[in-house]
Amino acid sequence: MTYLCGHSVRYGKPSDETFEFLGVLQTAKYYRAFEQARLDISQTAAVCMAQIRAAAQEAGWSAEQFHEVPLFIGSTSYTVADSERADFCGEPSYLLNDLAEYLRREGGFAAVHSFATSCTSAANALMRAHDLLESGLAERVLVLGVESFNLLTLMHFHSLGLLGSEYRPFEAAGLILGEGAACLALSRAKPSADGFVWRLAGIAAHTDTAQPAESSSAAMASVMQTALARADVAPQQIAEVKAHAVGSAGSDAAERQALSAVFGGEPPLACIKPQTGHTLGASAAVETALWRPQAENRLQGGLSRHHLLANFFGFGGNLVSAVWEVSP
């Protein structure tokens, strides 16, 4: 069993970023969450620690306890912002495991795992955490998503022609990137606190090899169906779908088609990215943390069904769907 016992989230507000591209000054919308233009590794770790403490506190775990808990991180940027800072004044250095080692050394964590599967990084961290809890080798796991501004990512999304100026999911308006951090505190034990109980009933991942930048509707439908089957839940039992709804024309059209194939029409949808921007590898943690209270409000309003489905899709054909059972 995997229960969501606590969460924390920090996300940004839209601002304008300017950069030169092919000799022309460009302005792109970007959701800024942090004060610094670019986080160095210690600032990134501080952001992570703040989210971990908040999620652990909500879960009722003491500081002594949460340092013993395996920490699973999902990010696309990791410490590339630090590398860009260094780029201005000397030799850059940046390895995927730097943040994990920093948190292990300075934060006192016993085991830190870093996953890098593009925009599904935190979603894969969640699936790995679920498998670990199911194995019985750990009683608790922390899933952390973190993403911070770096020009490398913004310029390359610009070069791909994917950016827009306003977030309007399923309207082919383009996407807006964002920075943010969030932590999910997961446990094998059912939380004792009052309120809704979130249990991860099923989660599935799929790799679509048709092309790296855009997945097919058939693959998206397949991963949703696998997650539903693992949860032993029929599509009719789903109260709401947290859509990936990234904003690009092809991906949104494929997701809409996949939803129609699985649900026989369009189910009630929740789209979080207009609030946060696309926080890339952190998005599964950021969006789950924000979705949780919003979905609970709607469930309190009288929804009779108590299962929710969340989609997280990414480059490299990486697709993850999760089914949550939410009980009063």
């Binding site: 591209f21 085991a111 795992h113 390359h156 610009h158 799929h206």
Partner: protein, 241 residues
């Protein structure tokens, strides 16, 4: 937890052999990073053996492609960016290409590793957890792209293991956690040596050689307060290129 180790493969990169091997296997690698080519060259022994489509892929690496990243950064400083560079440098590009070449559609995960004993075996641990939860097969690999001394040609390679939950009952090569394992005698244990940072493929390659020689290694614990070990009783099908 009891998992069978079914086969292993290893690829050492030098003299552009990766491009030759991939071309001979009918794979178009022109837009791939060296990192992706090295990962792909390592799994070629399974290209025609039809692994089950749900076979999971877990890859450990320290970075994307150093060469592509350096190109991207140089372009940025000159005020432009190339979309194909970005797609080539995706951290999960190597597992995407491995899945495409082997006809796989299951889980594909990239995990950050370095040469420290508590880090480099992480993908193996994740693959074992996956097999415990979902059964079936999993490829677990380590891939490294490093510029050669002259900084021109990328060197490195990849090491891959095929694991199975299906064949654990009959297999003679078995990975076990300590909870289920009968510990081998001290005489046949070798403590995993401490590796230099980021030389995780060397660690994996040394392990590969030890497996081939029939040695049994004590592995570092994947989590605090736990342990596991590898039990090896027979000769595996090995492929080394």
């Amino acid at each position: 937890m009891k998992i069978a180790l079914c086969a292993a493969a290893c690829f050492h990169a030098h003299n552009h052999r990766d491009k030759t091997l991939l071309k001979a296997a009918g794979l178009d690698a022109r837009r791939m990073s060296a990192q992706s080519r090295f990962a792909l060259a390592g799994v070629l022994p399974w290209r025609y053996r039809r692994l089950p489509p749900e076979t999971a892929v877990f890859l450990g690496t320290d970075f994307g492609s150093r060469k592509v990243f350096d190109d991207m950064r140089r372009n940025m400083r000159q005020g432009f960016a190339k979309p194909l560079d970005f797609l080539a440098h995706l951290h999960n590009a190597p597992v995407f290409h491995v899945c495409a070449a082997l006809g796989l559609s299951g889980v594909s995960v990239v995990e950050a590793v370095d040469g420290r004993p508590h880090n480099w075996l992480k993908p193996l641990f994740q693959a074992m957890l996956h097999l415990h939860a979902h059964g079936g097969y999993a490829l677990v690999g380590w891939c490294l792209e490093r510029p050669d001394a002259d900084g021109m040609e990328a060197g490195g390679g990849s090491v891959w293991l095929l694991l199975s939950a299906e064949e654990a009952g009959a297999a003679q090569w078995v990975l076990q956690t300590a909870e289920a394992a009968v510990m081998p005698s001290a005489a046949c244990l070798r403590v995993l040596p401490e590796g230099a940072d980021n030389h995780f493929v060397q660690q994996a390659a040394a392990w590969f050689s030890a497996l081939r020689a029939g040695e049994v290694w004590q592995l570092p614990p994947p989590l605090p307060h736990s342990s596991w070990h590898l039990q090896v009783d027979a000769v595996l099908p090995f492929a080394e290129q």
